[in-house]
Amino acid sequence: MIGLLVGAPLLGAAVLLCGGRRLDRAGHWLACLLSGASFVIGVLFFLDMLGRSGDDRSLHSHLWSWVPVEGFQADVAFQLDQLSMTFVLLITGVGTLIHIYSVGYMEHDPRRRRFFGYLNLFLAAMLLLVLADNYLLLYVGWEGVGLASYLLIGFWQDKPSAAAAAKKAFLVNRVGDAGLAIAIFLMFTTFGSFAFAPVLSSATDASEGKLTAVGLMLLLAACGKSAQVPLQSWLGDAMEGPTPVSALIHAATMVTAGVYLITRSGAIFNAAPDAQTVVVVVGAVTLLFGAIVGCAKDDIKKALAGSTMSQIGYMILAAGLGPIGYAFAIMHLVTHGFFKAGLFLGAGSVMHGMNDEVNMRHYGGLRKHMPVTFVTFGLGYLAIIGFPGLSGFFSKDQIIEAAFAKGGTQGWILGAVTLLGAAITAYYMTRVMAMTFFGEKRWKPDAEGNEPHPHESPRSMTIPMVVLAFGSVFAGGLFKFNESFVNWLEPVTQFEHGHSPLSATAVTSATVVALVIGVGAAWLQYGRRTVPSVAPRGSLLTRAARRDLLQDDFNHIVLVNGGTYLTRSLVYADNKVVDGAVNGTAATFGGLSGRLRRLQNGFARSYAVSMFGGAAVLIAATLLMRAV
């Protein structure tokens, strides 16, 4: 039965991608249907799970023996526990909403059928990732979502920038994937297995050094998929993809897979404190990095991408804290899934009404023209900045508290970083809000000279936005109520109460102060004053942040140029040096090549002669040897 969760969207992908043009008219509804079916099955499992006690909720389903080789057993088998269940509901729920949204958003695209095929493929791979019961099968889902992401970022393939961004995303992810592969090799040599149950239950048998190595390799994988420093560079470019893709894959689900991986492997990280420290540092650095980049971007999607990076930084940081943080990491992941998907869909709605303009400096005053978009986007905005009572408030507050609870100097540093991050989040999100919906109109005609006529988007787009807005408002409170979310996950991720040196009230107050400072600073700069249509030169930091804090320049100079130079010289060397050396050796053997070339005169007879010659040599040699 668990297989059906994966099977339904997989069937959709296969039918839509192989089906041909006959399906152009109804294909997208088929995709929505199968995605919805997967969601319904997920809900049924969820209800069934609620009927059982906490320790009895894990389901297992073994389908077939996949790669049975002496000493190496991999199975196609699924495991559905509370952690997987949480993801299943998020993926299929948000996924189905975004399917419906895309029906409207992609209405005029001639390749809509293929788009929906890729979306279904993504769902199948993502579900495989969270349902696999072993790391090798997880790896299939892991690269599967990478493939879907590649196909969807590059969906408008005739745009060279989209094709380049897609390739970049796949490549950077492959670096992470190599990390995951090495982690699996390490598990294989250490435990003789890479299935969750045996490895995680006996993780403590292995030496700390081994576990640290495994942990760091898993972190490398997580950095690739979740766009964490130093493998974050692909996410901004990935905004080349259609906006529903950015919402589903590059905000709500796929990019959070790294958090899943670390939480799932908790038993390994718990026993490897050094690896945990690196996880926390990566999370902290990325949360500031993404936030700073998010402040400088004028492209609405890239600003949101910076924000995604930063929010996942929070989750990674929380996951690095161990049992005091896992549940909060996942909780923030889910609430973030709601409000960030909602924000992206809102951005898509704005672009839809503004001739696909993405530059916020050319927006302004849109709240009157797109009221539904304004309200839903606004609620998502309030949720992400952590406005008290909304989803983001509860989940982020918990992470900040847990960061302080890490203890010692580390705890103070991490706590301060998360608070600073909260302030910057409030700043850049207020900036987005102000530049888009407030102020005066700065609209510009598009490349063909069409003046924008902003209008509210069709029902198929606004309904998903409204649903996600509900999630953004209420999910956090619901999860926090009675500590229901923590209790739900506890059997899988374990939970310990962190002891923060600051009281919960003090942390909450500090968070609210940070929020007010961030909002106030942005409002002074972008709300009260007129926003220039052309970006000012900006400070050194702003200019660096616009270029992703110079990382792209580094990549270009070191990796692209260096790599090109390396391969060019190798191509030259292969033709001249290696080939030459071997040929030279051959030539010394009596100019054999020249003689053979002369034989190449096109007459069958001489070939026959040489064949006979060869055979004669052979027989002579045999005879000779016999005589010896």
Partner: protein
């Protein structure tokens, strides 16, 4: 004596070659269908071999043994272990696709005057029909392909070293004509220069392989002398030699064994090909037509890696271990070097050739890692690389035939006008970069895991190869298939035709199915790998902290140490 199934499997394509060559000049379509028919009949026979192979049975099955040159102890001995059976199946599987893809490749030469290619096709005999005034390239092309198939099948089945050697060398002749005689219709450097480069590539192919073969011949003779010395009567029989070695009747001095090993290994390393003996492959694959390029890299070259497993490890286990460090380093260089060179190529077919060099590095690495996973993975790698490269290269061939150019820069935006072609090309590429879910992933992962468990550093270096693989495949796709359609030749480009789809669809289906259910193959290969492992007296490294059995899988290896199921 039971039915000589292996002989018949080799004989059918040989007869097919003669029959195809005998078809009159005017009836070239009939010749094509005849060739296809014979290749399909061979495929049926190979399927029978595979189905009839009993994984729990003897090491070599379907054995045949007849005296041949009694004076020299040469016997006509055939037999397959799991590895041989799988390789024969791969060969028989790919040939129909090679024929289907090359359906019209030889036609344009029809009216040209006698170029190369009219030589003696068929399994060593003179061409049926003798010397004719009118020359028939289509018939020749398909007859040569079938002749190669017959020889490759014998090579995979031969358990007599001398018998193997003869066919290992003899297949150079039809291959030489296939490379030199049939090329792409249009050549970037002009027709005359094209013919020149083609014949250069063919000669280079022949020279490299002949040189390797000659060295091997010396080693073959040396082996015979040594066996005559120690056993009283010289023999080339693999089984006899391994048995004698196991019982202690036959043991080589270290230096002798090493020299003989080198003689064999060099020949196989040229064919495989391993860095730095690889430079003939890009020339040959670049100049040959795409189906012939597939024949080279997916079928003929596999004889080299196969023979490393069967002959180098089987006959010279001590020397194999002695050479392991060097071979592993060469394999690693091949992996990284081949991939980097592929990134830098401007020619589609040469790019695939360098990618193949990288992949052969993986195969050799898996073989010499001397672990069950490494060698099992290497065997699967041979099969899966054959299928995936065939898919990629044949679609590349369809692309090239439309535009008349091999240069990557001459393309761009193809997916807009020919989405099916672009889609199949992408799937072939994804298989080449070992995307999980497709078959090559399984073999590559096994090779890497098997290598890592004994040589962690080598395992990590090789893993870097998967990143480069993504780079050369996706760069190729980006440059040829994406972007705006700017060139008028591309705007008019038709999508895949029915024949082309019929060629590529089953290959893609196989890549998917085998990626999900490789078990039928692993079952056959596993026991053979165990035998090879015991030949070299190696055991898998044990995990430091083995975990208890998971309890939920239904598979238990036949000879697992925990024999609670016996």
């Amino acid at each position: 004596m039971s039915f000589p199934l292996l002989t018949v499997t080799a004989l059918v394509p040989a007869v097919g070659a003669v029959a195809t060559a005998a078809v009159p000049a005017a009836k070239r379509t009939a010749a094509k269908w005849l060739a296809l028919l014979f290749s399909l009949a061979t495929l049926v026979l190979a399927a029978v071999v595979l189905a009839g192979f009993d994984p729990g049975g003897d090491r070599y099955q379907m054995t045949e043994s007849r005296a041949w040159i009694a004076d020299f102890g040469v016997r006509y001995e055939l037999g397959v272990d799991g590895i041989g059976a799988v390789m024969i199946a791969l060969t028989a599987l790919l040939i129909p696709f090679v024929i289907g893809a090359g359906w019209n490749d030889a036609d344009a030469d029809e009216d040209a005057d006698g170029a190369a290619g009219s030589g003696a096709p068929g399994g060593g005999g003179p061409a049926a029909g003798g010397v004719k005034s009118r020359w028939r390239p289509t018939q020749g092309f398909f007859a040569l392909i079938l002749a190669v198939e017959a020889m490759v099948v014998i090579s995979f089945a031969a358990t007599d070293v001398f018998l193997f050697y003869i066919f290992f060398e003899a297949m150079l002749i039809p291959m030489y004509f296939l490379i030199g005689g049939f090329g792409d219709k249009a050549h970037a450097a002009g027709e005359e220069e094209g013919a020149k480069q083609r014949s250069y590539a063919a000669v280079k192919f022949l020279l490299y392989n002949l040189a390797g073969g000659l060295i091997m011949l010396a080693a073959v003779i040396g082996l015979y002398v040594a066996s005559a010395d120690q056993l009283g009567e010289g023999t080339f029989s693999l089984q006899q030699l391994t048995q004698a070695r196991a019982s202690g009747d036959f043991s080589l001095a270290d230096n002798t064994e090493r020299l003989l090993f080198l003689g064999f290994f060099l020949a196989f390393a040229v064919k495989a090909p391993l860095w730095p003996l690889h430079t003939w492959l890009p020339n040959a694959m670049g100049e040959a037509t795409a189906p012939v390029a597939v024949l080279i890299t997916a079928v003929v070259d596999k004889v080299g890696t196969f023979a490393m497993l069967r002959f180098c490890l089987g006959l010279f286990p001590g020397a194999s271990q002695w050479a392991t460090p060097v071979v592993i380093v060469l394999a690693l260089i091949s992996i990284i070097y081949g991939a980097l060179l592929a990134v830098g190529q401007r020619d589609i077919k040469r790019l695939v050739a360098y990618a193949s060099i990288s992949h052969f590095g993986f195969i050799v690495l898996g073989i010499f890692a001397m672990t069950s996973q490494g060698q099992g993975g290497a065997t699967l790698y041979m099969v899966f690389h054959g299928i995936s490269t065939a898919a990629l290269m044949l679609v590349a061939g369809f692309l090239i035939s439309r535009r008349g150019s091999r240069l990557i820069a001459d393309y761009g935006g193809v997916q807009k006008v020919a989405p099916v072609l672009a889609g199949t090309f992408l799937v072939g590429g994804l298989a080449t970069l070992s995307l999980p879910g497709l078959a090559p992933f399984i073999s590559e992962f096994l090779v890497l895991a098997g290598t890592f468990s004994r040589y962690p550093v080598a395992g990590i270096v090789a893993t870097a190869g998967i990143i480069l693989a993504a780079l050369y495949v996706l760069l190729l796709y980006q440059r040829t298939m994406t972007g705006p359609v700017e060139k008028p030749e591309i705007r008019r480009m038709p999508d895949l035709k029915v024949r082309e789809l019929a060629v590529v669809t089953p290959l893609i289906a196989l890549l998917v199915v085998l990626g999900l259910f490789p078990k039928p193959l692993t079952q056959i290969v596993n026991p053979a790998v165990e035998h090879t492992m015991s030949d070299v007296q190696k055991k898998d490294p044990k995990p430091q902290h083995p975990v208890a059995d998971h309890g939920w899988f239904d598979y238990k290896p036949a000879k697992h140490s925990g024999g609670d199921h016996e």
